[in-house]
């Protein structure tokens, strides 16, 4: 009975990749806060995660495979920009925390494996 690292880390390895991808999208939204006509984007995390889980070859399906999703603003602006900074900051913060959570889970799993390997 061998140890399969891919199975040991579970969903969290895929989650980390998707989280960092989403960080980039949210960072772009924040960077283009004052750009006229810029439309805030986001990803459907659950759908991307399901896609990543279902692909058997282990390759991760990134955003390029699907159309970008755009946010619906609460307040329309005269310059056509749909970035609402509070929402983006909240999403960015939540996303960064979720990234750390997945990382912590992987770390705990690896520590458990190390203990098993050392026979402690």
């Amino acid at each position: 009975m061998g140890i399969n690292f891919k199975e040991a880390t579970g969903v969290h390895a895929d989650a980390l990749q998707l989280r960092s991808e989403r960080t980039r999208i949210l960072a772009s939204n924040i960077a283009n806060e004052n750009t006229p006509g810029y439309q805030a984007q986001d990803m459907d995390f659950a759908a991307s995660m399901a896609q990543a889980q279902s692909s058997t070859d282990g390759g991760l399906a990134l955003l390029s495979d699907s159309d970008p999703l755009y946010r619906v603003p609460f307040h329309p602006t005269s310059d056509g920009n749909t970035v609402e900074i509070g929402i983006e900051q909240a999403a960015f913060s939540q996303n960064a925390t979720d990234f750390q959570t997945s990382l912590t889970f992987i770390n705990m799993k690896l520590k458990g494996l190390a203990k098993a390997i050392n026979g402690q």
């Binding site: 960080t23 772009s28 924040i30």
Partner: protein, 138 residues
């Protein structure tokens, strides 16, 4: 990987907001730079931002911001009768720049807040990357 992109995105926004703060400082400093000639009078400057979409496989996933141009405001100048002013023209008129000081102050606050937000983004991404580097450490 994408962490480098994120730092570049936040960095580009910081650079763009710095340009914006520069124009605000210039406009406020020259708010009272009078002149006797309409063409020589200082006009308020405004940066124009534009998004730079990435090329390659993840083209849609957002991008950096760039300053396309710095344009001069087309608002009319303020014409004032000041015959004692040394730069006044033959009719005793001087031209004041079309700088709206209240608008410039709000612009300055918006720019500095946006700058700070991007500094936070950079700091957060750095800590994410650092904890990723510590993965598997005992």
């Amino acid at each position: 990987m994408s962490f480098k992109d994120i730092s570049q995105i936040a960095g580009s926004a910081m650079a763009a907001q710095t340009v914006r703060l520069n124009t605000v400082a210039s406009n406020l400093a020259n708010a009272d730079s009078v002149s006797g000639n309409e063409n020589d009078t200082y006009r308020a400057r405004k940066p124009v931002f534009a998004a730079v979409m990435n090329e390659g496989p993840n083209a849609e996933a957002g991008g950096r911001v760039q300053v396309l141009d710095v344009v001069q405001s087309a608002e009319p100048l303020r014409k004032v009768y000041e015959p004692d002013n040394p730069v006044a023209n033959a009719e005793g008129m001087v031209f004041y720049p079309n700088v709206n000081q209240v608008a410039e102050m709000t612009d300055m606050m918006s720019a500095s807040r946006a700058f700070e937000t991007n500094v936070e983004v950079m700091g957060r991404v750095r800590s994410m990357q650092q904890s990723l580097l510590k993965l598997g450490e005992m």
